[in-house]
């Protein structure tokens, strides 16, 4: 295994330019960053969101007329998985104060805070508790915690600039002010952030940051956070119940229009269950598995945007769903690593991006959308991409990780990026000696359901937390603000919902009236009647096998 002979030959060009690039880096001479106007131009010409056909206008629902990604629009313009007439509301299977939909970082943080308010909680999750994009987040978590050089003021500026100043400023203010508190909370739960012996935390730059404020736990920060939150929720097993392999497929309302529970689907027994709840927190995460513009993705298997469509049918508006984030550095070689995220921290630690000639073509710490557009430009327009072996017509560029050992000392790559180091070692590639071949990969849903800083929405009893929500990142999230988002807004939504249920005396008659209305709208518009959503699981089935499944019946992608 390892790189092919052709690639090893090309790597020599990277090695030839490396010493000089290291000298420049050490001297603080960076490749020129783009101006704001140049950024705009680069995006419009090369970012996938701007390609013809990437977006379409919604024809029905609360955000009618708004343009969003085609693939998400397909799930919005579709019928419910469950026929409203088939739901039996006489038999309620679970009753709780707060139902959290989604067992990732935001959902689990929300469950913990709701429990602290005295609520009984059920977490319903599609796969296992913790199987979520949170687990996969590598680089770190931004927070202005070092008051001798940083403050929420600068964090705010960075977030707004990264999001092209379109972000919801109220949400941003809340996020940057709550950030240090979120770090302190995780630390007290026992998260092992990288630290000096006196307890001071290591922090690094991320792309688009003016101060080093990214806190991290090796290159598995999200995993460390997720497993700690999950462990803590298991300690509170008396109050927090978890239903695994039981995705929600529709929300319930009562006769006053308040969100009052959900319909769950047991993926294994194929039964539906009714959960009655005084509050519902939607925390289903993103939608990378919808493969926008047919890109490969770094996302978790369950990231099919289920919460978006459930919330949309309920009447909640969406924001920024025209903006999909492509992570600049997804692995393209070897084939089994395809789409795999190479954390931005590699660039934060000093690694250049270089083309087939070993030349730099972009500053490595531009915001993600700019960086991605620049890589696409280098490959498609400039013709300076490196051909991916065995995949005709596909190209990548080099992420020059060996620079890091030259800058920071031998062994840094192995110490700072243990997970990736081991992974590539298995492929026969030592990333402290050889660069990685990368290309942008679908990574994050910048937008989502509209919500207020306390997690509440326009629908009473319905709260939103994490990637399923939209607004705080504008059209482009910066690195390290996603783990921050899920922790901050997970906590806030949990606290708000926990307080809300104390003042909600009753749940009226349950129904799915909103779904009936939505179906009527679909019928009137004559669209989406042959589709169902949410998707629940992506379809990676083999079409040859499907042809022979003579008696199988598929509803959407599920058999």
């Amino acid at each position: 295994m390892g790189y092919t002979a052709d690639l090893m030959e090309l790597i020599k060009r990277v090695e030839k330019t490396r010493p000089e690039r290291v000298v420049k880096k050490k001297a603080g001479q960076e490749f020129a960053a783009l101006t704001l106007d140049q950024r705009r131009d680069r995006l419009e010409k090369y970012h996938p969101d701007f390609r013809t056909g990437a977006l379409r206008e919604l024809k029905i629902g609360p955000s009618k007329g708004v343009s969003i990604a085609q693939e998400i629009a397909d799930t919005f313009e579709a019928k419910s998985r469950v026929d409203p007439d088939k739901i039996d509301f006489d038999e309620v299977h679970y009753e709780t104060d707060v139902l959290v939909i989604g067992g990732g970082g935001a959902g689990t943080a929300a469950a913990l805070l709701a429990q602290e308010e005295g609520a009984r909680v059920i977490i319903a999750t599609k796969l296992r508790h913790g199987d979520a994009n949170t687990m996969m987040a590598e680089g770190g978590m931004q927070a202005a915690t070092k008051s001798w050089k940083d403050s929420p003021y600068y964090h705010f500026l960075d977030v707004m600039g990264g999001g092209h100043f379109e972000n919801d400023p109220e949400l941003v203010r809340t996020m940057v002010l709550e950030a240090p508190k979120a770090i302190a909370w995780l630390e007290k739960l026992g998260c092992m952030f990288n630290k000096w012996p006196d307890g001071k935390m290591f922090t690094l730059h991320g792309a688009g940051t003016c101060r080093k404020r990214m806190h991290y736990a090796g290159d598995m920060t999200g995993a460390e956070i997720m497993r700690t939150l999950r462990d803590e929720s298991r300690n509170r097993v008396k109050d927090i119940g978890v239903l695994e392999f039981a995705p929600a497929v529709e929300l319930l309302v009562d006769d006053k229009g308040r969100c009052s529970g959900a319909v769950l689907y047991n993926l294994e027994t194929e039964e539906y269950f009714i959960v009655k709840a005084k509050a519902v927190i939607m925390a289903t995460g993103g939608s990378g598995r919808l493969h926008m513009s047919r890109f490969m993705t770094t996302n978790h298997y369950g990231a099919t945007g289920d919460g978006l469509v459930m919330g949309y049918r309920l009447g909640v508006k969406v924001r920024f769903l025209h903006a999909t984030q492509y992570h600049p550095t997804g692995a393209v070689f070897p084939e089994q690593s395809e789409g795999l995220l190479i954390t931005e921290k590699v660039r934060g630690a000093g690694a250049n991006l270089v083309n087939i000639d070993g030349d730099q073509f972009v500053f490595e710490r531009e915001p993600r959308d700019i960086e991605s557009a620049s890589i696409i430009r280098e490959c498609e327009k400039m013709g300076k991409g490196v051909p991916v072996p065995g995949q005709a017509g596909r190209f990548g560029v080099w992420l020059d990780s060996p620079m890091i050992d030259m800058l920071e000392g031998e062994g840094t790559v192995e110490r700072e990026f243990p997970a990736k180091f081991i992974l590539f070692k298995r492929y026969g590639i030592d990333i402290s000696k050889l660069p990685m071949l990368i290309y942008p990969t679908l990574h994050y849903q910048n937008g989502g359901l509209a919500y207020k800083p306390d997690g509440s929405t326009t629908v009473e009893g319905f709260f939103v937390a994490g990637e399923v929500g939209g607004g705080v990142h504008g059209a482009n999230r910066l690195m390290g603000n996603s783990l921050l988002d899920i922790t901050v807004f997970g906590r806030l939504a949990g606290e708000t919902a926990g307080k809300y249920v104390k003042n909600r005396p009753d749940i009226g008659k349950l129904s799915v009236e909103h779904v009936r209305k939505y179906h009527k709208e679909l019928e009137d518009a004559g669209i989406g009647l042959d589709r169902v959503s949410p998707m629940v699981l992506p379809d990676y089935g083999n079409p040859e096998v499907k042809k022979r499944q003579w008696t199988s019946h598929y509803v959407g992608t599920l058999r």
Binding site: G28, K181, I183, G190, K195, T228
Partner: protein, 259 residues
């Protein structure tokens, strides 16, 4: 089915288009033979074979631990392990995923724990049953020295146990193979949480900043930014001072009025 039975089945197979393809290799999923492309991971091979995965599939990136897989190669008694999403198929491998394996887990209050061996023995008395066979280490798909951290935990060296187990994905293979019936990965996360909470000092600068925010130090500066028009905001953004990449930890900006 045994390999021999599979051979017999294969002899009766009518050559299909697929059989003529040279890029396919045979693998045995739970004893049953499928022809799959040789470049696929075990996870993708399952899907190619016709499975729609519900269990045994999570991040598809080697970190969530949902797809622990055990396999053997013909002619060898050795049991191999790997994550299905990270392991490329090999011709004639016999495999099964182990998507779940029950393990003991203690319920505890993190605030009350002490970093010593008594604490660990109280919550996980089965630790003492470890017979040092090292099967756990040999079966870890993340190449963690599992037995070494179990020993450290037994000695009460909680921090050491935490450090060794850092890259644990909690897939549970160690627990499935342990003759002493330990749930190693649950013991490991308890050690890590004790380390993070009680052994490593808490970061002073974090609590200081939390206090500063509570004192409303940043309310006005943030209010200014929120009121600023786009042109002004862009100007402030462009002109904000960058901490140099190579700056020392104690670097301070020129303008300190917003700190």
């Amino acid at each position: 089915m045994s390999a021999m039975v599979q051979e017999a089945v294969q002899q009766n197979e009518i050559p299909s288009e697929a059989a003529a393809r040279t890029d396919l290799v045979p693998i045995f999923i739970m004893g049953k033979r499928y022809m799959v492309p040789s470049t696929l991971t075990i996870q993708k091979a399952f899907e190619y074979a016709g499975y729609q995965l519900i269990r045994g599939c999570g991040c598809r990136g080697g970190i969530c631990g949902a797809c622990a897989t055990v396999y053997r190669m013909p002619g060898s008694a050795k049991i191999h392990v790997g994550l299905a999403c990270q392991t490329v198929v090999q011709p004639n491998m016999y495999l099964t995923m182990v998507p779940f394996f029950p393990a003991n887990r203690a319920v505890y209050n993190i605030e009350e724990l002490k970093p010593d061996s008594q604490t660990l023995m109280k919550y996980y008395p089965e630790l003492a049953k470890c017979m040092g066979c090292n099967t756990c280490t040999k079966s870890c798909p993340m190449d963690i020295s599992v037995m070494e951290y179990v020993s450290a935990a037994l000695r009460g060296d909680v921090e050491k146990a935490a450090e060794i187990s850092m890259s644990c994905v909690m897939c549970g293979i160690c627990a499935s193979r342990c003759p002493a019936e330990l749930g190693q990965y649950n013991i490991a996360i308890m050690c890590r949480r004790i380390t993070g909470r009680h052994i490593w000092p808490l970061a002073q600068h974090v609590s200081e900043m939390v206090d500063k925010i509570k004192s409303h130090r940043y309310d006005k500066p943030l209010e200014q930014l929120m009121k600023a028009d786009l042109e002004n905001l862009r100007k402030l953004y462009v002109e904000r001072q960058m901490e140099p990449h190579t700056a020392p930890e104690d670097w301070t900006p020129d303008d300190r009025s917003f700190l």
